[in-house]
C-alpha cells in the first residue's frame, strides 16, 4: 500500500449530512469482482452526472479548481450505510486521498484506513470553517501532515491540529499491509485458538 505522509491540494466541500455509500457508489457500479471496474466514474455518480450522463456543471467536482481536488471536506456522518468498500476505491481512483469531517460511517472509516486514506475527525465548528474555506476557489488549498497531525489551510493561514489513532497513523505513514502485520502474530492466534476451541459446545 502507498504510504501517506503529507498531501497538499485543493479541498472540495461536500456539506451534506449523512451522505451514504449508496450515493457515494451507486449499485450499478457494484457489478465487478475486482476493485477497479468503472469505480472512478461511479464515485458520487448521481451528483456528478445527469440522467444523460453529462457532467452537472454546478457540482463542485466538475468545476475548477476542484476538478483537481485531492481532499474532501464532508458533512457529518459521511459514508454511513452500506459496507461497500467500492466507495473508497472509487474515491482513490479519482485522485482523492483524504477526507476531513466531524464524523464518518464506522465501516467507511475502517475501509479508508485499509486503503491508505486518512479519514480525519475534527470538531463540528472546525468542520464548518473548513467547509467554508473549501467552498471558496481562492482559499480551498489545504495541506494535511499526518506525521505532525496538522491541517494547514492556506486560505486563512491557520494550522489546525488533529488527533489520529497512533496505530492507524503508523500503518498509514509506513504503508503497511494489515494482513501481513497480523500474520506476524500467528503464534498468538494459534495459542488462543487451542484453548478457546476446546469448549466447542458453546463456540463456533
Amino acid at each position: 500500500m502507498e504510504p501517506f505522509r503529507t498531501l497538499t491540494g485543493p479541498a472540495a466541500p461536500l456539506p451534506m449530512a449523512n451522505l451514504d455509500t449508496d450515493q457515494i457508489m451507486p449499485k450499478q457500479f457494484l457489478r465487478g469482482v475486482d476493485r477497479e471496474s468503472g469505480l472512478a466514474g461511479g464515485f458520487l455518480h448521481d451528483l456528478r452526472f445527469d440522467e444523460q450522463g453529462r457532467a452537472r456543471p454546478q457540482f463542485v467536482l466538475n468545476r475548477a479548481p476542484w476538478t483537481q481536488a485531492r481532499l474532501l471536506v464532508t458533512g457529518p456522518n459521511y459514508g454511513c450505510g452500506s459496507s461497500r468498500e467500492h466507495a473508497v476505491w472509487g474515491m482513490l481512483q479519482l485522485g482523492l486521498r483524504c477526507v476531513i469531517g466531524s464524523s464518518f460511517g464506522g465501516i467507511f472509516a475502517d475501509n479508508c484506513i485499509r486503503n491508505g486514506v486518512p479519514a480525519i475527525c475534527v470538531p463540528a465548528e472546525e468542520a464548518e470553517r473548513l467547509l467554508a474555506l473549501a467552498a471558496d476557489p481562492q482559499r480551498c488549498q489545504m495541506t494535511v501532515d499526518l506525521e505532525a497531525q496538522t491541517i494547514t489551510t492556506a486560505g486563512d493561514g491557520c494550522i489546525l491540529p488533529f488527533r489520529f489513532d497512533a496505530r492507524h497513523r503508523s500503518m498509514l505513514l509506513r504503508g503497511l499491509d494489515a494482513v501481513g502485520l497480523t500474520l506476524e502474530m500467528a503464534d498468538d492466534i494459534r495459542r488462543f485458538e487451542s484453548g478457546y476451541l476446546q469448549d466447542a459446545a458453546t463456540r463456533a
Partner: protein
C-alpha cells in the same frame, strides 16, 4: 474485577492480545458469512498474496444480493442473464470450492438473505463474535452475540487470520420501559429511536438494549431492532440472552444438542452486563408512548408518527439538518404540512433482512386477510429465506398474500437494495419494510417510505400511507 458490560465481556473473551495504547485488540472471530458482491475482491487479494484461509469451517457463503426472485425456483429460473452478476455468483462458488467453504447457492434449500439464514440455521450463538461484509450484520446481536459489518479488506484479513484488528467501542444503554401498544412493532421502536438520537446518534458505540419492552419482544423483533441499529451508526447492538432466545435456538441446525445444549444454556445464562456496569451513555424510551412510524425523508432519522404531517424545514434551527430536510422533501416530492396519512403510493414491498422473517409475514397477513391490494398498486412479498418461504406456505400465509394481490416471490435482498432485476422507477412511491430510504436506494429517483410490514400491508390495501391500527382486528 470491575463490573463489565456484556459487550466488554464478549470482547475480553475474544481478545487474542492487545495492540498497543490506542485501545485496539486482536479480536478472534467465531463466524463469518460471505456474499457474492463484497467477497470476490477479498479472495483476489488473498490469492495475489499467496495466502490461505485460516479456518474454512468458520465461514459460510450465501448468494443473496443479485439473485433473481422470480416466483418459481428451478435451474431454469435461477439463471442470471446479466454477465457481470452471473460472474459474481460463479466467482463465489469457485472461491468456496477452492477453500472448502460451505455455500448456500441459489438452488439450495437454505438459501436466503445472509442475516436471516445465519439466525435460522443457528450459525450465531450467544457470546460469539460474528462479522460479515454487510452493514446489517448488527442483526445478530439479537442472539446475544457481538456482530458487525466489515469491508472487503477486512474480509480478506478475517479469511487469512480468523481475527480482526479491532477498536474497542464505547457503550450505549438503550433502556426501553413499558410495553409496545396495539399494532406497534419493533420496527416502530427502532424508527423512533433513530429519529430521537439521529442517523449518527450511536456513532462509535455498541448499543445494549435493556428493559421490559425488550424482554417482551420476540426474538424476531429483536433481530429487527439490532438490524436497524446501524442506521443510527451503532457498530453493534446486543440483547442479553434469555429463555425466549433459548426457545428460538433449540433444535436448530448448528446449535448444540442433548447434553451439550444443557451445558451451553448454562453458560449462556451468565451472559449479561454485571450489576453496576457503567455505560458511556444511556437513552431511555417509553414503549407505551410509541405509535406506528413512517419516514418522510431520505435518511432513516427523518421519520414521524403516521398521524403527523411532513415537517417544515424552515422550523429546523440546525443549518445542516435544515439543508438535509429541504433536499429530502425535493427528492421525495413532498410539501411541508402535507399529511402522511393518506399519501398515495404506487408500490408496496415486504421483505429484506430487517423485516423478511416469518413473524413479519404473519403480521402483514393478519392485515391482508380478506382484503385486496388497491387498484394501481404493485405489491411484492420477498421472503427473507427459502425456509421462511416454505414455512409461510405451510401456514397458509402465501395464500393470503396471493389472494390479496401480492406477488409471492423467491428469497433474496431484492428491492431493498435493487441489485437484481427488482427495482422501482423514477418517481415511484413505495411503502417499504426495508431499512434504507436513501436517494436511489430502491432505484434511481425512487421514493421510499420505511415502516413495519403490517404498515406496508395497510398501505397496500388503502393505496396510501395509513395507520394499521384502523385495519387490525379488535385488540385481544
Amino acid at each position: 474485577m470491575t463490573a463489565r458490560t456484556l459487550y466488554r465481556r464478549i470482547v475480553d473473551a475474544h481478545t487474542v492480545r492487545g495492540l498497543g495504547e490506542g485501545g485496539q485488540v486482536l479480536l478472534y472471530v467465531d463466524r463469518q458469512v460471505l456474499n457474492e458482491y463484497t467477497s470476490p475482491q477479498a479472495f483476489a487479494a488473498l490469492h495475489a498474496a499467496g495466502r490461505s484461509v485460516w479456518r474454512p469451517s468458520a465461514t459460510i457463503a450465501v448468494v443473496d444480493h443479485v439473485n433473481p426472485t422470480t416466483p418459481e425456483r428451478n435451474a431454469g429460473t435461477m439463471v442470471i442473464a446479466d454477465a457481470e452478476r452471473s460472474l459474481q455468483v460463479r466467482t463465489l462458488a469457485a472461491n468456496c470450492a477452492r477453500h472448502g467453504i460451505e455455500l448456500y447457492d441459489m438452488l439450495d434449500a437454505r438459501q436466503g438473505i445472509e442475516h436471516i439464514v445465519a439466525s435460522e440455521q443457528g450459525l450465531v450463538l450467544p457470546g460469539m463474535v460474528m462479522a460479515a461484509g454487510d452493514s446489517h450484520t448488527t442483526s445478530h446481536g439479537a442472539m446475544g452475540a457481538l456482530a458487525f459489518g466489515i469491508g472487503s479488506s477486512e474480509i480478506e484479513h478475517l479469511l487469512a487470520t480468523q481475527t480482526l484488528t479491532y477498536t474497542v467501542q464505547k457503550t450505549m444503554n438503550v433502556e426501553v420501559g413499558g410495553r409496545l401498544g396495539f399494532g406497534v412493532s419493533a420496527k416502530d421502536l427502532v424508527l423512533e429511536l433513530i429519529r430521537r438520537i439521529g442517523a449518527d446518534g450511536a456513532g462509535g458505540h455498541v448499543i445494549e438494549y435493556t428493559g421490559p419492552a425488550i424482554r417482551a419482544l420476540g426474538v424476531e423483533g429483536r433481530l429487527t431492532l439490532c438490524n436497524m441499529s446501524v442506521e443510527a451508526a451503532a457498530r453493534g447492538a446486543i440483547v442479553a440472552p434469555d429463555d425466549a432466545l433459548f426457545a428460538y435456538l433449540h433444535g436448530r441446525r448448528r446449535v448444540p444438542q442433548g447434553a451439550a445444549w444443557d451445558r451451553a444454556v448454562a453458560a449462556w445464562r451468565t451472559l449479561r452486563s454485571d450489576d453496576g456496569a457503567v455505560f458511556d451513555r444511556t437513552v431511555s424510551l417509553d414503549a407505551a408512548s410509541i405509535a406506528p412510524m413512517v419516514t418522510w425523508g431520505t435518511s432513516p432519522d427523518q421519520g414521524a408518527t403516521i398521524d403527523a404531517a411532513v415537517p417544515d424545514p424552515a422550523a429546523e434551527r440546525d443549518p445542516t439538518r435544515r439543508r438535509g430536510a429541504e433536499r429530502a422533501l425535493a427528492y421525495m416530492g413532498l410539501q411541508p404540512g402535507e399529511r402522511l396519512d393518506g399519501l398515495a403510493i404506487s408500490h408496496a414491498f415486504i421483505g429484506s433482512c430487517t423485516n423478511g422473517r416469518i413473524d413479519d409475514l404473519r403480521d402483514a397477513a393478519r392485515v391482508l386477510r380478506g382484503r385486496r391490494v388497491a387498484a394501481g398498486v404493485r405489491a411484492l412479498v420477498v421472503p427473507g429465506s427459502t425456509q421462511v418461504r416454505a414455512q409461510a406456505e405451510a401456514e397458509g400465509l402465501a395464500q393470503v398474500f396471493r389472494e390479496a394481490g401480492f406477488e409471492w416471490r423467491q428469497a433474496g435482498c431484492s428491492m431493498c437494495v435493487a441489485m437484481n432485476d427488482d427495482h422501482l422507477g423514477a418517481g415511484d412511491r413505495c411503502a417499504s419494510s426495508t431499512n434504507r430510504n436513501f436517494e436511489g436506494r430502491q432505484g434511481p429517483g425512487a421514493r421510499t417510505h420505511l415502516m413495519s410490514p403490517a404498515m406496508v400491508a395497510a398501505a397496500a390495501v388503502r393505496g396510501a400511507l395509513t395507520d394499521v391500527r384502523r385495519l387490525l382486528p379488535a385488540q385481544e
